[in-house]
């Protein structure tokens, strides 16, 4: 808001031009993602499995960034909400025979509800307290799933029916890609609306937001619930794609993996985490399979990248792209100025 009003009048045209360029880039990227499985080496089943995993990770990172990047709450229990969605959907399918497609929705609903309760419980707190409380809630949820072995089979693992009646990875990739795009579309829509404006106001300065008549708690809880619901949706997909569930899915390590992708991609951008997830996930999976003698190497890299981003590179990839775009715009602006002044 402030940046728009502060801009000189003549740059309105530029803003329109910029959004058109953004749209073009988005369409190009989506098309690229659609044809990717037909470009070698992605035609093989192995690589297509990586693609599914990458799209899954991307969607999680986007949903995570929705809270971390906009309302400045780091949900350290994020993986637990993925797990709630996964177990809800899986148990409905296993015990009641509900079709997995409906189970996904139910999983999202369950994770959203638990997210709502957690949000109401913890979002009176800020910063590190909120993060740690969400973490504790996540740990408690994981403990429950692990201990209620009669229902979840605990660490022995729960076998889940597949989402589609095929073992081919390609259809799964398109389902997951569709889920990813829906996630990005919905969350971007929310961010661009007045609600999103309130989110950013709260994230940047809670007191000022409150002073200008925003009821922060309601927005915080709304944001948190939405993020958890999407986490649950992806959890459902995870359950019916990988077909085996253990409580490990809900562990803090899983949260940190998503968190690392979100921060390396650049917090507060949604698209940054989505894009970076692909090379990052595929690259680390390749490392893992090529260097099986060094277990954990890929996670060492995640950790290292997260450290580097936190210390030296706070905006992540999105930050670098933004800075470059700004530099480019300034340069072309200067060039335009030069031509107009020489003409007059």
């Amino acid at each position: 808001m402030a940046t728009v009003t502060a801009m000189p009048a003549r740059s309105r045209k530029q803003v329109v031009g910029r959004s058109r360029r953004t749209l073009a880039a988005a369409v190009a990227l989506i098309l690229f993602a659609i044809v990717l499985p037909f470009i070698p080496p992605f035609t093989g089943q192995d690589y297509q499995r990586y693609l599914v995993g990458a799209a899954y990770t991307a969607a999680l990172a986007v949903a995570f960034d929705f809270t971390a990047g906009y309302i400045d709450i780091v949900n350290f229990g994020f993986a637990a909400f993925v797990g709630i969605g996964a177990y809800t959907s899986a148990l409905l399918a296993v015990d009641l025979g509900l079709p997995p497609g409906l189970g996904l929705i139910a999983g999202a609903g369950a994770a959203g509800l638990v997210g709502l309760a957690t949000g109401m419980l913890t979002l009176r707190l800020r910063g590190i307290y909120a993060a740690v409380m969400a973490w504790f809630v996540g740990l408690a949820l994981m403990g429950l799933v692990r201990n209620l072995t009669d229902i979840t089979r605990g660490s022995m693992g729960l076998n889940v029916p597949r989402l589609l009646g095929t073992d081919d990875n390609l259809p799964y990739y398109y389902v997951m890609l569709a889920l990813l795009l829906v996630t990005i579309a919905v969350l971007t829509y929310v961010i661009r609306s007045n609600v999103g404006l309130a989110f950013r106001a709260i994230g940047q300065n809670l007191q000022a937001a409150r002073a200008s008549g925003i009821n922060p708690t309601r927005f915080l809880v709304l944001n948190f619930t939405l993020s958890c619901a999407f986490a649950g949706l992806m959890g459902g997909f995870y359950a019916h794609y990988y077909t085996i569930l253990t409580p490990d899915l809900m562990s803090t390590t899983r949260t940190i993996e998503v968190l690392a992708v979100a921060y390396i991609g650049g917090r507060g951008s949604l698209w940054g985490p989505a894009i970076i997830a692909f090379p990052l996930y595929i690259g680390t999976e390749l490392l893992r399979t090529q260097l099986a003698s060094l277990p954990g190497l890929h996670l060492v890299l995640y950790g290292l990248l997260l450290i580097v981003v936190m210390v030296y590179w706070p905006g992540g990839v999105a930050g670098v792209v933004r800075k470059t775009a700004l530099w480019w715009e300034r340069r072309s602006e200067k060039a335009a100025d030069a031509t107009t002044s020489s003409a007059s």
Binding site: L139, T253, G296
Partner: protein, 345 residues
């Protein structure tokens, strides 16, 4: 001024009827009952509580002095266990070849435990000088959250680095001191656990003395209360930060080494101690070192009760639930936070 007069005029009885003291009184009561009817709960609480106090005390110290919520604290525990295991192996072999050698039997485990503490200290110093100092130089905006995520990265790296180099196997010792258990209050207690308790008590004593009575310890507390004021007094922040991080990591490594026979070393052995230390620190109030030492015994009691009456699987769930409940009533922790600017973050 107002708080001062309030403290002086509020009647003693009212001061002790607060929520905090209620909880503390409840804990003491439960322990007293346990002492009479189920001494094992009493003994277990004290033995494990001592070690969690070391973990949590260090965690609270680093938060209090440096405002860093250390997520990699559990990995210091892991490193401690690893170092002690590596050093103890040859000594143990020598002892097994010469089972009559009482000297090796008694003193054998000690070098590993001591070296582990020293290595922990050095790792802490390294973390401060390489990572935190660099981040501090770049920006102190959102410091608490950024360092939390930074240490999360450190944690992932150390866990998987360990996995990469040493593999997933458990590396433990059945016992440091392989002798008959002693009877305490009618409960058999392994000598290892007694040793653990003694090590914890000595370390806590030295640690408290250091913080309260020595020049450097006082300087640490000064930095935690007012950084600018500390600089005015000629205290070098960098030096204190280095020592604080080293001390905290050293204590965690010491705990990991001392508990090697109970927590066999593996890449993610630090996870549970990390959770526990965090429960304690949040329960006691972030950055409150003395509160953390007291809180460690409360959490230890909750854990022991959960294991005794609910089963081993609930060892984490029950304390978490109780802590979440307590924090709903007292978000700043039982003993209050002594930290500057936590709430503004």
């Amino acid at each position: 001024m107002t708080t001062a007069t309030n403290l002086r005029t509020v009647p003693l009885a009212r001061r002790f009827l607060t929520f905090t003291w209620g909880v503390v009184a409840l804990v003491v009561l439960v322990l007293a009952i346990a002492l009479i009817f189920q001494p094992s709960i009493f003994v277990d609480t004290l033995v494990t509580g001592g070690m969690w106090a070391l973990m949590a005390g260090g965690l609270a110290l680093v938060f209090g002095v440096m405002n860093i919520p250390n997520f990699a604290h559990g990995e210091m525990f892991m490193i401690g266990g690893l170092v002690s295991w590596v050093i103890y192996q040859p000594i143990r072999d020598a002892f097994l070849n010469d089972p009559k050698n009482m000297f090796l039997q008694v003193v054998g485990p000690i070098p590993g435990i001591l070296v582990a503490a020293v290595v922990g200290f050095l790792v802490g110093v390294l973390l401060e000088t390489v990572l935190f100092r660099a981040l501090r130089k770049r920006s102190r905006d959102q410091w608490v959250m950024n360092t939390f995520l930074l240490t999360a990265g450190v944690s992932v790296m150390l866990v998987n680095g360990d996995r990469m180099v040493f593999g997933n196997d458990y590396r433990g010792v059945p016992r440091y001191w392989d002798v008959h258990s002693l009877q305490i209050l009618g409960v058999p207690v392994a000598v290892d656990r007694i040793a653990v308790f003694v090590i914890a008590m000595i370390s806590i004593g030295v640690f408290s003395y250091f913080l309260q009575r020595t020049r450097t310890g006082r300087a640490m507390r000064a930095v935690s209360q007012d950084e600018t004021g500390a600089q005015m007094a000629g205290i070098s922040l960098n030096r204190i930060f280095m020592l604080t991080m080293g001390l905290s990591c050293g204590l965690a490594a010491l705990a990991g080494a001392a508990l090697l026979s109970i927590f066999p070393n593996s890449p993610d052995v630090g996870v549970q101690p990390l959770y526990l230390a965090w429960y304690v620190v949040i329960l006691a109030g972030l950055g409150n070192v003395q509160g953390a030492i007291a809180g460690a015994f409360i959490v230890s009691l909750l854990q022991t009760l959960a294991v005794t009456y609910l089963g081993l699987g609930w060892v984490d769930v029950a304390p978490t639930a109780v802590i979440i409940l307590i924090l709903l009533f007292k978000p700043s922790g039982l003993f209050g936070s002594e930290v500057k600017g936590v709430w503004e973050q």
